[in-house]
Symmetry: C2
Subunit: 423 residues, 2 copies
């Protein structure tokens, strides 16, 4: 266990370093996939599916029927509860039209208009991420996006996991395509016969998916945010409960061997207690090897002074931040950079990962300094409108002319003059 | 003059094509600039300034004092009027904290937190873009960004244009650095001794600046939006006034030879009237050669049916959209993709470019399908918080456990179980 005790400010940079995440070497392979999808469309997609997902499909189109959904009623109920909470919290975020009369005769407004075509990517693999279906499709539907396309790779029998299907149906998703990896992203960005081009791509994925999302931006498609391995920082003061903190750190560590886990505690004793709890909880975990690997990159820091601790936290800008304390409110105003914050001893990250209502698609790798997690805004453009009456342009005209001439743009001034000089 | 009359849907794609805008050939040169700034900091910056701006400066720091500001009182007053309108409209957009009790014991909130360090780039060159200073620094200040850095290249005597300085002072900008082009962007992204690293970079620029902003994203910095040449689409119904529309199209065309100008009118006669007006207004413009060049790329389209016309408009997704009509409201609900919309015969684009209150930093090149123009949101991250009580986790715990186990993430379930099983 590597404990860093009361580090100097000069050490912050080093503590905040994430394992490097270089995708440059992937880009030529991903470009080839884009070129193939561009040239040969669905045929290329079907071939990639055979190569990477080991299943031969005839079409990427998934015909939806209710019989396919076979999941336990307990899971159905859980998904319904999560659905309701996520919907409630996102509904409250709906942006409203803003209307301002700035001067007599001049009215400016800002109107949220849904992005028309959104694509949601849900990875396959061992963990069927039905929770991500909820996190991305509920706000898309609430925003009124005209078309919601969901792409996910088929399993070896050509199906998708019934829980993913159930979540999609609950969200009202009608268009599901069997496609995974970089090729699915390429198809959403370029369009094929079966997969119509989208305007914005959402969703997690491995490094190939991430590289493909970055490349997609060269084709006029926007993405939710840059992605990196998931991370959790726990701030534990003297009122934290060590077994809870240990469980939270492990829940992050089991995500992948590249997951980031950081603990900042006010005392060395707390760090040691938490570490001992980790050791005892770890052994029974099915994914303990992954978690152990992730813990190797973990950092345990003791910082006595809260203000200095939050300087480090803001410098790190964690995706998830747990304030393990029985009075967490005292720290809230110190938080400047974080994706999602969990307040108090009874607030595990798992709650936000699944069911409390907040979104779990969040900025990693320090991007919490400048990116929000996915929220309702992500599904809209805010378009400005202005109405100016004849009286309005008479009021503001000279201002515009003076400024346009100040920038040496005479035609800009003329556009006002023709209106003022109208006979 | 090339008039396209009632095009078929199949022709839309072609009408919407922008002149290609390939920056790949610039990236190695811009990468070299980043490497040099990274290695040699301000010294490299000063050398680039000598090379590209033809002036030898000792330091990039501009010492601010009032004497430098010598502009006419007419321009000062105009800037003040614009300042007030922009402030009024952006203040109305301030995002509020959202607080939702989703279940008993579970509270979720979303809190807008300002991006701490923002960098604003203002190009030099012939036109001193003091209007852009207002458009970017007013919302940054309103949002409460801790630090607003403004970079702009010095003129040949080592100064900056007094109108830029005046606008910056009015906005309360205290930190101005003499640096231009890709090297200024590199310095803001990487940090030097004189230019501290920022979290997000805003502002227009030539293709080198654009390439540098794209590259900056590899260094943990976000940007306002991808940039391309400016563009205007005017929709003119039979109540449009041809001389006004002509002046608007010319105001866009004078921006640069790569500016995009599109007219969609309901009748062929209107197109011809507007074209004749353009010819007569063009001759007296100081920047007529630039405008003529831009008009070569322009498209004049006749579409009788309004619904079809707006299909094309939404497909094109113009940066600026003027509805030249005496009853523009009838078309508002047809608009799905646009950056900023100007309603009515007395509403020139110039109004929004300078002084009505809306922002002029807008998505070009079709990005209006998935990007908003700069608005208050651009200066915040929306961070989610959740508080869960012991009762709350008892209420929601089983839901979380069931979902976590459904995704085969046992440690996620454990983080709840340790709390439920607490003795």
């Amino acid at each position: 266990m590597n404990i860093i005790i009361n580090p100097d400010f000069s050490e912050f940079e080093n503590i905040c370093k994430r394992p490097s995440f270089d995708q440059k070497h992937l880009s030529s392979g991903v470009q080839t996939i884009f070129d193939e999808i561009n040239r040969r469309g669905d045929q290329a997609l079907i071939e990639y599916t055979e190569k990477y997902d080991n299943v031969k499909i005839k079409s990427t189109v998934l015909n939806l029927n209710d019989e396919q959904v076979e999941i336990s009623s307990a899971l159905k109920e859980a998904i319904q509860v999560a659905y309701q909470n996520i919907k409630t919290f996102h509904e409250a975020q709906k942006p409203l039209e803003i209307n301002v009369s700035v001067m007599h005769g001049i009215n400016c407004s800002q109107k949220p208009i849904p992005i028309q075509n959104v694509g949601v990517y849900i990875p396959g693999g061992t963990a069927p991420l039905f929770s991500t279906v909820l996190m991305l499709c509920i706000p898309a539907k609430l925003a009124g996006c005209k078309r919601i396309l969901l792409c996910t790779p088929p399993d070896k029998s050509g199906n998708i996991h019934p829980a993913i299907l159930y979540a999609a149906q609950l969200c009202g998703v009608k268009e599901i395509r069997l496609a995974g990896g970089a090729q699915a992203v390429a198809a959403m960005a370029l369009g094929t016969a079966e997969i119509q081009k989208v305007d914005k791509i959402f969703g997690p994925g491995n490094q190939y998916v991430t590289a493909a999302k970055q490349l997609a931006q060269n084709y006029g498609v926007s993405i939710d945010m840059p992605a990196g391995p998931s991370e959790l920082l726990v701030y534990a003061d003297s009122t934290a409960i060590s077994s809870f903190v240990a469980a939270d750190l492990l829940s992050q560590a089991e995500h992948g061997s590249d997951s980031q886990v950081v603990l900042i505690a006010t005392t060395e004793k707390m760090v040691k207690d938490i570490f001992n709890e980790i050791e005892s909880q770890l052994e029974v975990l099915p994914r303990k090897n992954i978690a152990k690997e992730a813990l190797k990159n973990s950092k345990f820091v003791v910082i006595t002074d809260a203000s200095k601790a939050f300087d480090l936290i803001n410098h790190y800008a964690p995706e998830h931040l747990i304030i393990a304390s029985d009075s967490p409110e005292q720290y809230v105003d110190l938080i400047l950079n974080a994706g999602s914050v969990f307040l108090g001893n009874y607030c595990p990250e798992s709650a936000g990962d699944y069911a409390s209502g907040t979104n779990h698609t969040l900025p990693t790798n320090g991007w919490a300094k400048n990116y929000s997690g996915v929220n309702m805004d992500a599904f809209y453009k805010k378009v400005t409108f202005q109405s100016i009456t004849k009286q309005g342009i008479e009021n503001l005209g000279q201002t515009i002319i003076t400024m346009a001439e100040g920038e040496a743009l005479q035609a800009h001034a003329n556009a006002v003059k023709v209106r003022l000089n109208q006979k």
